[in-house]
């Protein structure tokens, strides 16, 4: 890679870039965008523990790397445990460098669950970021426990007997929140300043914090690469992916949706839901089911706000203080 001194423009770059250009992510990759936003907000005084997955593969084809921050990839299921060890080392050395753990939904919801729970329970000062693209994308789009209900993947294909994934998306935020950690939140690449604000909040927390970042995958979801942000925004505005903040296990704030969009606005842009638009009673049933799930989110998180839809600028992403989650 070229030395930074050969890039005069970089000297004038206003923001710190933890994940630099030149990596091999697909066009329109939501995860690459999310990782750039997260590392930008976290700043340079960090150490990263990265799980196996797309992010690791596209950012570090040896002998190159896109990372400008100290970064270690160990295995698929131990990003949280490796991060815990790094944090213990920082403590032992009397340093306050923040440790970040990065993993996808497979490495978090599924195979990395044990290590994540242990890290949260022991109270390590680690910000764990799950880049949620809702399937095993690195291995070619297989279903994970984060895959939405009825979505098509290569291991949940629709057919005469099936309408895509049979099970619900795991409510990971609730599981994380049940550890009563100081701060847990969901975010989306469609709302970058909200995401940055949440990273900064998490960076300021002493103890474990958790961010679930909704990160569309054009290849796996089957949408136009130019529509990544639009798709991500619709996930929020339909209520399918609510943006919430939890403190010590209780909902602290939510991003309100004034005029929720019907879930079909979101689903119809993605090939993984194409089978739901067939002229078939099962398809209609599943569409209703997904709408009911979105409505449920809107109800339990009290997303239906009175204010106009928030503009995505600093300070304007007004959030309504919510009470305890009552569902």
């Amino acid at each position: 890679m070229t030395e930074s001194s050969h890039h005069p423009l970089r000297d004038h770059q206003p923001r710190f870039q933890g994940l630099d250009s030149g990596h091999r992510a697909c066009q329109g990759c939501g995860e690459a965008l999310a990782a750039r936003l997260v590392t930008e907000a976290a700043g340079p005084d960090v150490i990263v523990s990265n799980a196996t997955g797309c992010l690791e593969v596209f950012s570090t084809p040896w002998p190159e790397t896109a990372w400008r921050i100290p970064w270690l990839h160990s295995l698929f299921e131990n990003a949280a445990s490796v991060a815990a060890g790094m944090e213990a080392a920082m403590r032992a050395q009397g340093r306050d460098t923040k440790v970040l753990a990065f993993a996808g939904d497979g490495g978090t919801f599924d195979i990395g669950m044990r290590g994540l729970s242990g890290m949260l329970e022991r109270g390590h000062d680690v910000l764990y970021v799950c880049f949620d693209n809702e399937a095993y994308m690195n291995t070619g789009v297989q279903r994970s426990s984060s895959t939405p209900h009825a979505a098509m993947t290569t291991t949940s294909p629709p057919g005469r007997e099936r309408m895509g994934k049979r099970h619900l998306k795991k409510d990971l935020l609730a599981i994380v929140a049940a550890h009563h950690i100081p701060y847990a939140a969901t975010a989306s690449v469609a709302y970058p300043s909200d995401l940055r604000k949440k990273v900064r909040r998490a960076m300021g927390v002493e103890g474990p914090s958790f961010l679930l970042v909704h990160s569309p995958c054009p290849l796996g979801w089957g949408h136009d690469s130019a529509l990544t942000v639009q798709v991500a925004r619709l996930a929020v505005q339909t209520g399918l992916f609510p943006l919430v903040e939890m403190e010590r296990g209780s909902v602290a704030s939510v991003m309100p949706i004034r005029r929720p969009c019907p879930v079909t606005d979101y689903l119809k842009l993605q090939r993984r839901f194409r089978h739901l638009f067939a002229d078939h009673p099962r398809a209609r049933e599943e569409l209703e089911h997904l709408q009911a799930l979105a409505d449920h989110n809107i109800e339990v998180y009290r997303l239906a706000g009175e204010e106009p839809d928030p503009l995505d600028t600093e300070g304007a992403d007004t959030v309504r203080r919510g009470g305890m989650r009552y569902a």
Binding site: H73, G115, G118
Partner: protein, 391 residues
């Protein structure tokens, strides 16, 4: 002045003398006493380190990996199922060339469930790319633990210190603990050349294509081969400090007389055979050889130790079902390069904690004197407990 210490307690004190920054472990018999003792040292303020009581051995290995990579000396211990659960991380630690020391309190592997001693656990991860040192007694466990840190940090290779579960971990012996000054003089403070540091960011654990993978594996192999002299030097230098040798790579514990019979063993059973040789004076005294270092495999030292033997009986504590012995197979291969290699008889004993008594010694001599070379057999099998067809 020697103190009466349980093996686990002595190992815990040795670890503390090495000043680890991070200790992570998960309880498993017979390793528990080591971690309990370390926990107590931390609670009493005698050891200042971050003690991370993790939720699995998988995480124990992952935590010490993260800690060592982030610039702190780290320690963990496990056994049996725990070693197997760690195995993915063990390969990863070695491949990343991160310095670490792990105590394996050797125990059988399930099924059938057994909490007792054999070597199946550490043998199962012999190809993980770790250095493996097997201890004869608890004094050696103490000294080897200290040496292990020096070896590991000089070479950036992880070291597994293997101690027989219960036989060593739960046995009281008079132990000479070194002083803190002795250890500090021998073991410099931890400095990892590739420590993760925001002031000097680097990426570790990258994706390596077929264009480079072979070269990385070769480098690892060469590094382990290069560890042979370093392991000997660590032992010799420690002997300069405290006057005790731990056996280098291969130790001739007792010279034989006539007959040219040798018995090669690994771990704590060597002591039993030494006692037996004293007792069975009517039998030809065999040369007792102990393989202290199993990885890297010390071919040359082994050939030197076996020079002049007509028969060598390899006594091992694990097996590769369907193939036979593990240690014996490697010994046989190494000795083939001798001008006049001895016959190599390979036997397993003491599986799943079966006692290895003094009375085994005459049977080993009998095996050595056999007409045929014993390719592999489980010597202390009790066939009358089995149905006819599998005897």
């Amino acid at each position: 002045m020697p103190q009466a210490l349980e093996g686990s307690q002595a190992i815990a004190r040795a670890v503390a003398l090495c000043r680890p920054g991070v200790v992570a472990a998960y309880p498993i018999t017979p390793q528990t006493h080591i971690v309990e003792n370390i926990s107590k040292l931390v609670a009493d303020g005698e050891l200042h380190c971050e003690l991370v009581s993790v939720e699995s051995e998988f995480s124990a290995a992952s935590v010490v990996l993260g800690a060592a990579a982030a610039g702190s000396r780290a320690y963990t211990a496990s056994a049996s199922q725990g070693i197997l659960l760690m195995s993915e991380v063990l390969y990863n630690i070695a491949g990343l060339r991160v310095p670490l020391v792990l105590t394996c309190a050797n125990r059988a592997v399930s099924a059938p469930l057994s909490i007792w001693n054999d070597h199946q656990d550490s043998m199962a991860v012999r190809d993980a790319g770790w250095i493996q040192l097997y201890c004869a007694d608890n004094q050696e466990a103490v000294d080897t633990t200290i040496q292990a840190y020096r070896i590991s940090e000089r070479l950036e290779l992880p070291v597994m210190v293997c101690v027989d579960g219960f036989t060593l971990t739960h046995t009281l012996e008079p132990i000479e603990l070194p002083t803190q000054a002795q250890v500090d003089g021998y073991l410099p403070p931890y400095r990892f050349s590739r420590a993760l540091d925001p002031m000097r960011p680097l990426s570790m654990g990258e994706l390596v294509s077929p264009a480079y993978f072979t070269e990385v594996r070769h480098t690892h192999h060469v590094a382990l081969r290069g560890a042979l002299p370093e392991i000997e030097a660590a032992d010799a230098d420690w002997a300069e400090v405290c006057g005790r040798h731990s056996g280098g790579l291969v130790e001739v514990v007792r010279e034989g007389e006539g007959g040219g019979i040798g018995i090669l063993s690994i771990g704590s059973v060597t002591g039993t055979f030494a006692d037996a040789a004293e007792q069975y004076t009517e039998l030809p005294a065999a040369r007792l050889i102990r393989l202290r270092c199993f990885r890297p495999f010390p071919d040359e030292a082994l050939r030197a130790a076996c020079a002049g033997l007509s028969d060598l009986v390899v006594v091992e504590r694990a097996l590769s079902p369907g193939a036979g012995g593990i240690v014996g197979t490697e010994v046989r291969a190494a000795l083939r390069e001798m001008d006049e290699p001895p016959r190599v008889h390979d036997v397993a004993v003491g599986l799943g904690g079966r006692d290895v008594p003094l009375e085994l010694y005459p049977r080993l001599i009998e095996v050595a004197r056999g007409e045929q070379e014993t390719r592999f057999s489980i010597l202390d099998l009790e066939p009358d407990k089995l149905p006819e067809e599998v005897r």
